[in-house]
């Protein structure tokens, strides 16, 4: 009696389990709550990862952040004689949002003049990548990296300034 009852119970229970509503199918990606697909895209399809020759007079290098904070960005720009940024590269030690912010920064500075590049704001970067509030500091660091690279380039253009090692301050 107990066995038959248990059997019926099991069947009823499994029928119940099958019919219960499930979560909608999600594509196999990082949870949307933490990583926006734009952020993931910058990692999966990286643009402008790499280095430029930091000893060159036309290259400005910005290095911001600290390993102890878990965020270090290196952003380099190459500027032509007319003052237009023709190439940019980045390397980042940091979370997905930090990588995406610096990657986006290199995309945006390309084609701009040195003055125009100074107008890039961290809020624009954050909005474009849909960064959550806890990750806003990544966009701020990216803006700092741009400014550091521009400052380094300007310093190299000084007639009396000596060729620095290239690390931004």
């Amino acid at each position: 009696m107990a066995a038959a009852g248990a059997g019926r119970l099991r069947r009823a229970a499994s029928a119940l389990l099958l019919r219960s509503p499930r979560l909608p199918a999600r594509e196999l990606s990082a949870p949307a709550r933490l990583y926006h697909k734009k952020v993931v895209d910058h990692y999966e399809n990286p643009r402008n990862v790499g280095s430029l020759d930091k000893t060159s007079k036309n290259v400005g290098t910005g290095l911001v952040g600290a390993p102890a904070c878990g965020d270090v960005m290196k952003l380099q720009i190459q500027v032509d004689e007319k003052g237009k940024i023709v190439d940019a590269r980045f390397k980042t030690f940091g979370c997905g949002s930090a990588i995406a912010s610096s990657s986006l920064a290199t995309e945006w500075v390309k084609g701009k003049t040195v003055e125009e590049a100074l107008t890039i704001k961290n809020t624009d970067i954050a909005k474009e990548l849909c960064l959550p509030p806890v990750k806003l500091h990544c966009s701020m660091l990216a803006e700092d990296a741009i400014k550091a690279a521009l400052a380094d380039y300007k310093l190299k253009q000084e007639p009396t300034g000596e060729a620095e090692k290239g690390e931004g301050k």
Partner: protein, 406 residues
């Protein structure tokens, strides 16, 4: 009276039968059929056929955060969710008696796993509640200075085993109460509250393939340890934790403990082998990988590795089809690196680079191999993107650089 004891005997006669892996589910990056048909109470002839949909889910390598329910545990619980739904504290009818019998049987199962007497086990809602009950005991302090020592048996972040027996010996000789949070240790390593001279122990259901929302606290009777109840009410559980004991959940906890007791040695051997495989493969293929925590006094199923020059969260994002954790889930909302890693003296940049791999009862070799392969691939990729790796390759000493603070 006679009827009640008969019920108790009947309940004890139906043990949890862990058959030889026949009910072990298949794991891995598997397809799962998702049924989106509308819910209906009665199966009708006009109901549409279920629309099967393939849903890929990530591999699960985060057993320290929580564990899946063992199917044998679910089997034990279902009758108490569906049929035997009485309140275990009802004394006047069969529904109450059978629930009470099940609750006491579960209590015995938990007690035998840690070498305790069933009268020393109080059911709670989880290890957190158990910890609170134990620590609150500080309030009724007897000693003038130290009254309670509380140590985790196995750490949830780095898997290090604390020398509980030695600490127990010291505490008992100084007449100080000794509490241990054994959530990550119960059912995984052999524990005996008498050998280890433990006075209070916290147990968590969902860390040992049992249900969530249930746990237990062990409170020594000889010599008697007095605790203050956190919640007052009907005086259930000897007045130490009022509230109706949730029979299905405690049955699940009991079943999980019994299964753990039977499978502990086999699980430990298998998990050690898989852990060895994971660490060897990773360390062989990647330079500058550090394992956090003492390698000797270590539970093998919790592996915490730091990949230098790569930030932990970016690696988690890259390993999107494996469920992993970086440091402690408890601190996931803040930007602070793990306090555990900081306490063992890990450099801060390495603390930001740590990943915790959890290997459990249902982890397969294929899952480990897949995880290792992806991990190696993405660490190499992220190092190519890392300015720190570039500097190290150029021979620059990172400690000599003045970094900007932000």
């Amino acid at each position: 009276m006679l009827l009640r004891t008969a019920w108790r005997r009947a309940a004890a006669a139906v043990p949890v039968s862990p058959g030889p892996n026949s009910t072990a589910p298949t794991r891995g990056l598997r397809l799962r059929v998702v049924d989106h048909a509308t819910q209906s109470d009665v199966p009708s002839a006009t109901a549409t056929a279920p629309q099967a949909e393939s849903e890929l889910r990530p591999l699960y390598m985060d057993v320290q955060a929580t564990t899946p329910l063992d199917p044998r545990v679910l089997d034990a619980m279902i009758p108490y969710l569906v049929n035997y739904y009485g309140n275990p504290h009802s004394r006047t009818h069969a529904y109450g008696w059978e629930s009470e019998a099940a609750m006491e049987h579960a209590r015995q199962q938990v007690a035998s796993l840690i070498g305790a007497d069933p009268r020393e086990i109080i059911f709670t809602s989880g290890a957190t509640e158990s910890n609170n009950i134990a620590i609150k005991e500080l309030e009724s302090a007897i000693q003038p200075d130290t009254s309670l020592v509380s140590v985790m048996t196995v750490n949830n972040e780095i898997g290090v085993k604390q020398p509980i027996a030695e600490i127990g010996r010291i505490c008992s000789s100084r007449k100080v109460y000794f509490h241990t949070d054994a959530a990550q240790a119960v059912g995984k390593i052999p524990l005996d509250v008498n050998d280890m001279k433990v006075d209070l122990m916290s147990i968590s259901g969902h860390k040992i393939y049992g249900p969530k929302g249930v746990g237990a606290i062990y409170i020594r009777r000889r010599p008697r340890v007095r605790v203050e109840a956190l919640q007052s009410g009907g005086g259930q559980e000897r007045g130490m934790r009022s509230g109706t004991v949730p029979t299905p959940l405690v049955v699940g906890l009991g079943a999980a403990c019994e299964v753990a007791q039977q499978e502990m040695e086999y699980d430990h051997k298998r998990i050690s082998k898989l852990a060895e495989r994971l660490t060897q493969k990773i360390m062989k293929s990647l330079p500058d990988v550090v394992m956090n925590g003492d390698p000797e006094h270590h539970y093998p199923g919790c592996i915490n590795l730091s990949f230098a020059y790569v930030e932990g969260e970016s690696l988690l994002m890259a390993l999107k089809d494996v469920a992993l954790s970086s440091g402690s889930a408890c601190t996931s909302a803040s930007l602070e690196p793990s306090y555990v890693l900081r306490a063992i003296g890990t450099d801060e940049d390495l603390a930001h680079s740590s990943i915790r791999f959890g290997i459990g009862r249902f982890t397969t070799e294929e899952e480990v191999d897949y995880t290792v392969e992806k991990c190696i691939h993405h660490v190499k990729r992220l190092r190519e993107m890392s300015p720190l790796w570039e500097m190290v390759q150029d021979g620059i000493d990172l400690k000599s650089i003045k970094w900007t603070q932000h």
